[in-house]
């Protein structure tokens, strides 16, 4: 389980996150929703151990230190890769596996994400959609237990969105826990089983995704 409890983060006088609590088990997907500035990215960064909360705890499967960090795969919203390196080199940079295992993992990932033919290409020569797939591949290189994705569908066309959803569903089914931040809840309807909504750092909804969509439909009616 990935558990965040009592997470609070302030920037000066402003609370970006106030007393947030979240739980994610393996093989499930949680969609994290809210307007701009609601605290979604802050929460995700804290869970990904890329940012320190002012108070609260993050527990990842009884792990600590390096093992805890390696259990998390983080896909930031921006393409957080080295433009000067090739696809393969980018994957190698972030890989913590031993060399032989890394090669095997690398080839498998490139095949699965349809990147094998462009593995020697420099990242700056790829299209936006291709870069997003590499962005995802880097997060998956270390065989994480939990995958945190910040707006993975931004700028993606329908086709790319569909393929990405398919991939993520496949990873969820193989036991990965997913937290997906999005502005488009309906896109995640087929994949998410839990939902959390933030507004100005406060949690306004936390429960089953179906309940969220039912409430959404009621509001619309």
């Amino acid at each position: 389980m990935l558990i965040g409890h009592g997470l609070t983060k302030r920037y000066g006088d402003r609370y970006a996150l106030r007393n947030a609590a979240i739980e994610l088990s393996s093989g499930s997907a949680l969609m994290l929703l809210g307007r701009n500035g609601s605290g979604k990215t802050t929460l995700l960064n804290i869970l990904a151990l890329a940012m320190r909360a002012d108070s609260g705890t993050v527990q990842i499967d009884e792990l600590s230190g390096r093992a805890a960090r390696e259990a998390i795969g983080f896909v930031p919203q921006e393409i957080a890769l080295f433009e000067e390196l090739s696809v393969e080199e980018n994957l190698r940079v972030w890989c913590t596996l031993p060399r032989a295992a890394a090669k095997e993992r690398l080839d498998a990932l490139l095949e699965r994400l349809d990147l094998y033919s462009m593995r020697k290409k420099l990242l700056r020569r790829l299209s936006g959609g291709q870069k997003r797939r590499v962005n995802l591949a880097v997060a998956l290189m270390g065989c994480p237990r939990y995958l945190l994705l910040d707006e993975p569908f931004v700028g993606a066309d329908e086709d790319s969105e569909g393929r990405m959803l398919e991939l993520l569903a496949g990873y969820r089914d193989s036991g990965l826990g997913l937290i997906i931040v999005s502005h488009q809840p309906r896109t995640l309807r087929t994949i998410a089983d839990r939902a959390m909504v933030l507004e100005r750092g406060e949690t306004t909804f936390y429960g089953a995704a179906e309940d969220y969509f039912a409430a959404l439909e009621d509001r619309e009616l």
């Binding site: 151990l49 890329a50 320190r52 960090r69 921006e78 390196l85 190698r92 972030w94």
Partner: protein, 413 residues
């Protein structure tokens, strides 16, 4: 990933920014070729720019005659001037008017008296506006020599004064001063090193400023060669390296830091490796061969490595401090210009206010200039050791500060 693989990847990152790398390596060569084109034609065509000047010495004292000998044999002027001693100013003016000489140097009759009595000794350099450049060259050398003579005189008078107070004969003491001055000047004429505050080579020393400004150019371009590493480091601190937690553990952060320090230094070394052979040909061929003794190479290699590491550490420090790459780049550029100004690379150190000159002495660029000048053109072990220690201290301070910043960036849980 091992440290060596990380360094190899980092070198790829740095050198794949082709436009920036080409600008870093080619622009200095262009600058150097423009600079060298003033001297290169002289070497290739075996012609020399000769500055003919007349000197009228109206002071018959022995020390002044020695001083005039010093001036006419000054290292910086020897190969550039042809001296015409004249009996009187009338003859000098005639030579000036006829265009046979570019300058007329006048040593007045009371020159030595003014020196001995603590007055204001003055020499006059007369030239038309068209020969103001030659006038500057001679004036620089005269200023330096007057300073040396004046300082020596003060020291000797102090000793003589002490001797007189202790009971020595005043006339004997004054004779002693005169004899010592002559001997000192004679001794000095055979020394290579100038006693100016700027060290072995400075715009005000005995050396023609070509060597000085050549080393200034090398150092400035070495400093500018740190900018690609600075840009990349700044981009990393605000980008993937932090976002993906690459710096989250101390070993990973240390690997990142070391990798960037080495790859940044490699680029700077490459820039210097291209500059120095080209710069070296501006020296006369036979003097070059005579100067390239083993000790010069032994001194040059550590000087280059320490210079490269120091500027690389500075780049990392600035990159970790300023997380907006373009802002970091501009700040880096202006810091290099400021260092150049304070170090005496743009304006002769002697012309700077004392406080600014002192601040400049503690910039990496100043120590690098001095180290390179010593290694390339004239090895003074004491000065070399002093500059090495100073630059090493700066490198350690910058490296520690940059490393701390990188660690702080990466701290998560």
């Amino acid at each position: 990933m091992s440290l060596w693989r990380w360094i190899a990847l980092d070198l790829k990152r740095l050198f794949r920014g082709r436009a920036l790398i080409l600008a870093t390596l080619i622009t200095p060569l262009v600058g150097l070729m423009v600079f060298a084109s003033v001297v290169a034609p002289m070497l290739l065509e075996e012609k020399r720019i000769i500055i003919p000047y007349a000197i009228c010495n109206e002071d018959s004292s022995e020390p002044v005659r020695q001083f005039v000998r010093l001036l006419t044999n000054a290292e910086s002027l020897k190969s550039l001037t042809a001296v015409y001693p004249v009996k009187d100013m009338q003859t000098g003016y005639e030579l000036l008017a006829s265009g046979n000489v570019s300058l007329l140097v006048h040593v007045p009759a009371d020159f030595y008296t003014d020196i001995s009595t603590g007055g204001n000794p003055a020499m006059y350099i007369i030239a038309s506006e068209a020969h103001s450049f030659e006038q500057s060259i001679v004036r620089i050398t005269v200023d330096s020599l007057l300073s040396i003579v004046g300082q020596s005189q003060n020291v000797l008078q102090r000793f003589a004064g002490e001797a007189i107070d202790a009971g020595a004969d005043e006339a004997a003491a004054n004779d002693w001063i005169g004899g010592q001055m002559s001997g000192g000047i004679e001794e000095y004429m055979h020394r290579r090193a100038a006693l100016s505050q700027g060290g072995i080579l400075s715009a005000y020393s005995e050396y023609f400023p070509v060597q000085y400004y050549l080393c200034a150019l090398f150092s400035i371009f070495a400093a500018l060669a740190m900018l690609p590493a600075l840009y990349l480091s700044s981009a990393d601190m605000g980008g993937p390296v932090v976002k993906r937690g690459l710096l989250a553990s101390r070993p990973a952060a240390s690997k990142y830091y070391l990798g960037r320090l080495i790859s940044g230094a490699a680029l700077i070394l490459l820039a210097l490796a291209l500059l120095i052979p080209i710069g070296a040909v501006t020296e006369e061929a036979d003097a070059l061969l005579a100067n390239m003794a083993d000790t010069v190479w032994l001194a040059l290699a550590p000087a280059l490595i320490l210079t490269a590491l120091s500027f690389s550490a500075l780049a990392l420090f600035l990159g970790a401090l300023i997380n907006r790459p373009r802002l970091a780049l501009w700040c880096g550029f202006f810091i290099v210009l400021t260092m150049a100004a304070l170090s005496g690379a743009l304006v002769a150190e002697g012309a700077l206010p004392a406080l600014l000159a002192e601040i400049g002495r503690w910039t990496p660029l100043k120590s690098a200039m001095s180290l390179l000048a010593n290694s390339l053109f004239s090895l003074d072990s004491a000065r070399y050791a002093q500059d090495t220690l100073r630059l090493a201290a700066m490198f350690i301070a910058l490296a520690l500060a940059g490393y701390k910043l990188v660690l702080r960036k990466g701290a998560a849980l």
